[in-house]
Amino acid sequence: MQAVTDHLTHATDDAAEIVMSVEHLSLDFHLRTNVLHAVRDVSFVLRRGQTLCLVGESGSGKSVTARALLRILDKNGTITNGKILLRGKEDEIDIAPLTERSKELLHIRGGRVGLIFQEPMSSLSPVHTIGSQIIEAVLLHRAMSKKEAREEAIELLRQVEIPNPDKMIDRYTFEFSGGMRQRAMIAMALAADPEILIADEPTTALDVTTQAEILDLIRRLQVSRGMAMLLITHDMGVVAEVADAVAVMHFGRIVEQGGVEDIFHNAKHPYTKRLLASTVKLEQSHLERDEAAAPEKAEPVLQVRNLTKVYGSATGWLGKSTFALKAVDDVSFDLMPGENLGIVGESGSGKTTLGRLILRTVEPTSGAVAYHDADGQEKQVTELDQAGMREFHRDVRLIFQDPFASLNPRMTVRQIVADPMIVSGTHRGKALEQRVAELLELVGLDPLTMERYPHAFSGGQRQRIGIARALALDPRVIIADEATAALDVSIRAQILDLLLDIQKRLQLSFIFISHDISVVRYFCDRVAVMHRGKIVELGDAEQICTAPVEAYTKSLISAVPNPDPRHKRMMHRTRFTAQG
């Protein structure tokens, strides 16, 4: 059935460069009710000084493959077939049959193959200093005294560009920011000067500017040390920026692999094509250029004026005043009917708090939000009583980020979608059921599934249920808080299109909060860029994304990886050094 156009044997001309070759690797997991063939017949090679990107969406088996290379598997996982050949100067070791406790394996782990991975918050021990963890790695693989190892660790920290390495070495993990931790992880992985670096989604949890810095750093270290790198990622943009070769994984198989140019400009497999299409789609606005001039309506739906939220300004215990954090600082903007306003910013920029302030699930410290309802009456949201708030919440709805946490697992889809209508008493009985069916159809779900529970649906489907709930009360404004962040890229595009379609039909306005610039660019008419609680720039989406004015926006936009290997954007990015 599988017509594999695979010619591994052809690659003999530059075989000297190959440091690891994985041949026909297969891996099973014994789950409670079934066996999952997580990796099926996977073959690839890693070459000295080059980067192979293993791309795939969640559940593709890419991380499992990466860890299998070091034989780090959960207890219920077994390698059923294949070889993992590590080629040294004179010898060749097959890692696959090594036992967990064998000396060879321990020597390879960290010694010849370094691993860094996604969670910078939890991948370092919280109760040991950064230094002691790096020193340990140095001592394990290199013949050094403790003192020399400490010197070496400081040098490593310097190489990964941590400032004041001789002081930072004695700090604990929780004193480091996410980016700093990832740097420390890299320092640790490089401690024994390995031939191969495996980086498993090393930047997924980081902000886009930090991501650019870390990728930059990895890339430079790799070149200067001549390492081979296996980079696992779901982000085609990152792939285009750093890869020499690409392997695309889908449900445990590598469906396509080749040079980065081949994959991006001559994709053959339908899955690769789909992946690329949904990525590239988000690289432009959904609007045609001529369409962009939206008809101006005089009255904005929402007017946000000088909204501010200060945390922790109260005097602390023992009479010592604690620091005050301005999560949202003097933010003002208007939202027009039928408009999509994007709010973009990195973590900690206050964008999520801003959304909550508008809904008043978090009380603002000062400032005002004015809402013009369907009858054209103006309401001061900050002065509404409970009944008024309930009415306001019928018109202004929220779509959550996490499609799993935002649906009550103990209620059926029908109960979930009907809940707002039952509470507000708009529909009941037959009409209610009909309305739920209608809403499900609107979001592209089969109404026959309404008696099912959320656990029977995938992430994208659950997000559709959440959207149906948001639409139940005929809202006028929807605040979408990172509504697509938890979804795979192909599903992300589908959900965005769904929202656009619904907007067209129902004349909604959106406030679209996201850290993902490409999503905002695709979806929004105007964009506000937030940084440290303030809106630093507000303007037309296309203008912000292609010709930003402010320094911060420039650095942010230029840090976004471009999914086109011919136009690497990130490497020539503008850097922004924040003042104070």
Binding site: H393, F400, N408, V423
Partner: protein, 391 residues
């Protein structure tokens, strides 16, 4: 450079999965509610299932105590002091030497120890006491509703004796007393847990829902109570019960004392979960849907809590049973003529008595341990199954 290659194949739509054993169908749970899923998860724990069966059995015994007990708990026969347990045999050798079907127990012969002048019993193989099922024995009033003398098991002649678990110092049948004791001990746990459930859930939800100073005060209270060593406190409270009170009053006050200290754990659990649930997205969503506090609690938060509460309650039950047993054992809990496992253990207070009649320790202690063990296993299984949605 790497050669461009690809699999010329249709797009797959699902991960590759095969059944653990061939021919097994994959269950669909799409339309299964919380309790179905919990049951699916729970029933995989065979130990918990078994423990549950044991507990059902114990409550069955408690309910039908009068019928199941061969004798009345207070019926004493001074001539049979410390009679050892007898075994049931189904076949007896008749006088002509042939073996015939005859359920029976062996009788006793007495020997008097000349040195200590104490009577000891030896089970005598030659004496046959025929027994049977559904026999007429001593009269009792079933559930206080009607008089009957039907017993599940007993000697055919009502003047005969049958001590399957031996007898105590007054010649009372330990088996019958144990069966009656089951009723008291198992129900005290149940009622005690109900008391503490009401207290714990009320205060825990108040604390968890309102937070702020309400939470502060309740938490302080819980901290104070749980930092008191429980047994001295039980002792203190139990010692305060006036001697003049009737057994029923004592029964209720002991239940109350026992539950008074069990509620703190429950309240903590409920509060913790309340806090966690209150910030869950789906609760925020319900609030934004316009739900008022009451609806939030009853429609969204409590249903998520129920299974956890049930598990905690099950795990709290054995503490109550042990507490009652301990107090009664020390002589400040339930007192005769009330029969509970603790009261039975009072008879086994010193080593000499236990050495003479080990069954006085073994059977009641065994009952306590089995009950506690079963509740623990059941509760553990319930706790593991309480959240069917975690991965």
């Amino acid at each position: 450079m790497t050669v461009h290659s690809f699999i010329d194949d249709e797009l797959e739509t699902a991960p590759a999965i095969s059944a653990l054993r061939t021919g097994e169908a994959v269950e669909t749970t799409a339309a299964a509610g919380q309790w179905t899923l919990i049951w699916h998860k729970f029933r995989q724990n065979k130990v918990a299932i078994f423990a549950g069966a044991v507990i059902l059995f114990l409550y069955f015994v408690a309910i039908f105590a009068e019928f199941l007990a061969p004798a009345l708990p207070e019926a004493s026969r001074p001539q049979f002091t410390y009679a050892p347990p007898q075994a049931i045999s189904f076949f007896a050798t008749a006088e002509d030497g042939s073996t015939q079907f005859l359920p029976h127990v062996q009788g006793y012969t007495q020997t008097v120890d000349q040195a200590s002048l104490r009577r000891t019993f030896v089970v005598d193989d030659s004496l046959v006491v025929p027994i049977g099922f559904f026999v007429h024995g001593p009269k009792y009033r079933m559930w206080g509703l009607f008089d009957t003398d039907l017993h599940l098991l007993g000697p055919l002649k009502s003047t005969d004796t049958m001590y399957l678990m031996g007898s105590d110092k007054l010649g009372r049948d330990l088996l019958s007393r144990l069966i009656y004791g089951t009723r008291i001990s198992m129900s005290i746990g149940l009622i005690g847990v109900l008391f503490s459930l009401v207290l714990g859930v009320t205060l825990g939800s108040l604390s968890g829902f309102y937070g702020g100073w309400v939470d502060m005060i309740i938490q302080r209270g819980i901290e104070i109570i749980s930092s008191m060593p429980t047994i001295p406190l039980w002792l203190g409270l139990a010692a305060a019960i006036p001697i003049t009170w009737s057994p029923l009053q004592v029964y209720f006050i002991i239940t109350l004392i026992v539950s008074l200290f069990g509620w703190t754990g429950l309240a903590r659990e409920v509060r913790g979960r309340f806090f966690a649930l209150r910030t869950e997205d789906f609760v925020t969503a319900a609030r934004l849907d316009g739900s008022r506090e009451r609806r939030l609690i009853f429609r969204h938060i409590l249903p998520s809590l129920t299974s956890h509460i049930l598990a905690v309650v099950t795990l709290a039950l054995p503490t109550m049973i042990v507490a009652e047993t301990a107090l009664s054992f020390l002589g400040i809990g339930l007192k005769p003529p009330v029969v509970s496992w603790g009261v039975l253990l009072q008879d086994a207070q010193n080593v000499r008595t236990i050495a003479t009649a080990p069954w006085l320790l073994i059977w009641p202690a065994g009952a306590v341990v089995i009950a506690v063990l079963s509740f623990n296993f059941l509760g553990d299984g319930m706790r593991d199954a309480a959240d069917p949605y975690e991965s």
